[in-house]
């Protein structure tokens, strides 16, 4: 195992290439510029295409085009840029196009700042664009996990013909950690008989049409039924979650991304004080690990749960829905970019215990 100290953004880009991604369309924005920069160097080396579009809107529609032609394609941006891509994401969902979208979240709303944040949870999981759709949302908490997830993200996208979003906070993009990069010269590609790759009248292949417009009510209903059935399968099969120290815990922390790692440190600090605290870390934010979150918190031993986020409380709502009133769920966090310290999280748990 050859480890390399890599910046998160560069590791994501290399992992995407190892996963067979050959097309990247994007537009610059901090803190994810190292992804397109790296792609602009590496994609031509592997026979791919890097293109800096004239806008985010153009970039996501280039993704639509490449995905429609059956290519493994991705784009990346950061919060304000992801907002600009929402129409295209909705369209990709309607046209059932597989692609990977990386959102390296920064503080918002508006242009906000360029530091790490988790304020785009609602946008990512509840559909930032219009219409009844979902994207699969994966929220890794370390650079290695992000690398391991890239191949999975493309596979899920193609298996279900759905956009997959990697929702990472800016910290994961900017920090460096040792990475064990997979070396995969021949990644498995899914068959895409639906792709628009050229049509010959009288040929064996039917005309492929990539479309998101369904004027007739019945036609749109057919599409929606197909999508919703697919989402039900994804909900049943593709949940990813980590539980840590939850068995018999007195308090349960719930967090994702980098914040979940800070919570792990808080679990350790609480243990030093003799208090058993566990952590549930959703890895897929959609589909949300409703059952796992519920089961961890509903245990008899648990007095209460605490959701920690760098937001004003977004995943908090899904945690409360999962728990469905059976236990108290508190919230800790602030909108913007202030990441709570492990010491403060531990202190909050100890305070809840004294109350």
């Amino acid at each position: 195992m050859a480890l390399k100290l890599m910046k998160g953004c560069e590791a994501i880009a290399e992992a995407a290439i190892q996963a067979g991604c050959r097309y990247f369309f994007g537009y610059p924005i901090t803190p994810q510029n190292d992804i397109p920069e790296y792609m602009s160097l590496r994609l031509p080396q592997v026979g791919g295409c890097f293109l800096q579009a004239e806008s985010e809107l153009a970039a996501i529609n280039m993704v639509y085009g490449a995905a429609g032609a059956g290519a493994r394609v991705m784009t990346s941006s950061s919060s304000p840029g992801i907002s600009l891509k929402q129409e295209g994401i909705s369209t990709c969902c309607a046209a059932e196009l597989p692609c990977v979208i990386v959102n390296m979240m920064r503080g918002g709303p508006g242009l906000g700042n360029i530091q790490a944040s988790q304020g785009d949870y609602f946008q990512a999981t509840k559909g930032g664009g219009h219409g009844d759709y979902h994207t699969i949302v994966i929220a890794p908490s370390s650079i290695q996990e992000t690398v391991n997830m890239m191949g999975k993200a493309f596979d899920l996208a193609e298996e279900y013909r759905i956009p997959v979003m990697i929702l990472a906070d800016g910290l994961i993009g900017q920090m460096m950690e040792p990475v064990d990069m997979p070396n995969n010269p021949n990644p498995t590609m899914h068959d895409k008989p639906w792709a628009a790759t050229g049509y010959k009248p009288g040929g064996a292949k039917q005309r492929a049409i990539i479309n998101s417009l369904y004027i007739e009510t019945e036609d749109l209903d057919t599409l929606e039924e197909r999508l919703q059935n697919r989402y039900a399968v994804i909900r049943g099969k593709e949940v990813m979650v980590e539980t840590y120290n939850t068995e018999g815990a007195e308090y349960i922390l719930c967090a994702y991304g980098t914040v979940a790692r800070v919570c792990k440190a808080a679990v350790r600090l609480c243990a030093e004080q003799g208090v058993k605290v566990g952590l549930v870390r959703p890895i897929t934010l959609w589909p949300f690990p409703t059952k796992e979150v519920h089961d961890a918190i509903a245990q008899d031993s648990v007095k209460a749960a605490l959701t920690v986020e760098v937001s004003a409380g977004q995943m908090y709502e899904d945690v409360r829905l999962a728990v469905n009133g059976c236990k108290e769920v508190a919230f800790m966090g602030k909108a913007g970019s202030m990441i709570p310290a492990a010491e403060d999280i531990a202190e909050r748990i100890l305070k809840m215990r004294r109350a």
Binding site: L5, I114, M175, M176, P178, R261, K264, A341, A342, E343
Partner: protein, 178 residues
């Protein structure tokens, strides 16, 4: 062994590189490491710092809120981070640029005239390596030669001629710690 470090200074003083070399050297010696930069949108100037962790255990939180060692290259960094250091921790002060002393008496303070030593070596750019040498002289968490290996990887063979100067800088820094 868990080392939680903050390296801080002006942009351009090489504080991010110091941290990167330490993290890379730690990795090469089989430790778990992480490096987190913090800086503004400026290309140069402004303040910069990085959090570096080295550990025999898995690193849970890579954020350093209570450093075991603080390395400061300029005065605003000392004033900003001094109070965060754990009792019994170490503060390394670039005394060429910082005209005040560490105000706490529950930490170990080391004063290293980085820019003066760098001038003696004939290249002001190695002041960060002198400071990194001082840090290594105290913490002994990685070998000087491993740091040079990490530096060579970063520079590439074309700039290998810079290694002896940097070795000298690291050793001069280490010699400042008694």
């Amino acid at each position: 062994m868990v080392e939680r470090n903050i390296f801080a200074g002006f942009g351009g003083q090489g504080v991010l590189l110091m941290g990167q070399l330490l993290a890379a050297a730690g990795m090469m010696e089989g430790k778990n490491t992480s490096w987190i930069p913090s800086y503004g949108p400026e290309m140069r100037g402004g303040t910069a710092n990085c959090s570096v962790m080295l550990s025999d255990q898995e690193i849970d939180s890579p954020l350093v809120t209570r450093p075991t060692s603080l390395v400061v290259m300029n005065r605003p960094s000392l004033e900003k981070f001094e109070s965060k250091v754990v009792p019994g921790g170490s503060i390394f002060v670039n005394s060429s640029m910082i005209d005040i002393k560490v105000s706490r008496d529950d930490v170990n303070a080391y004063y290293v005239p980085c820019n003066e030593i760098a001038a003696e070596l004939g290249n002001d750019k190695v002041s960060n390596m002198i400071m990194l040498g001082a840090y290594l002289g105290k913490s002994k968490c990685v070998e000087v030669e491993t740091v040079l290996e990490a530096l060579l990887e970063k520079l590439g063979q074309k700039k290998a001629k810079l290694i002896p100067l940097n070795r000298e800088a690291l050793l001069r820094g280490a010699a400042c710690i008694k």
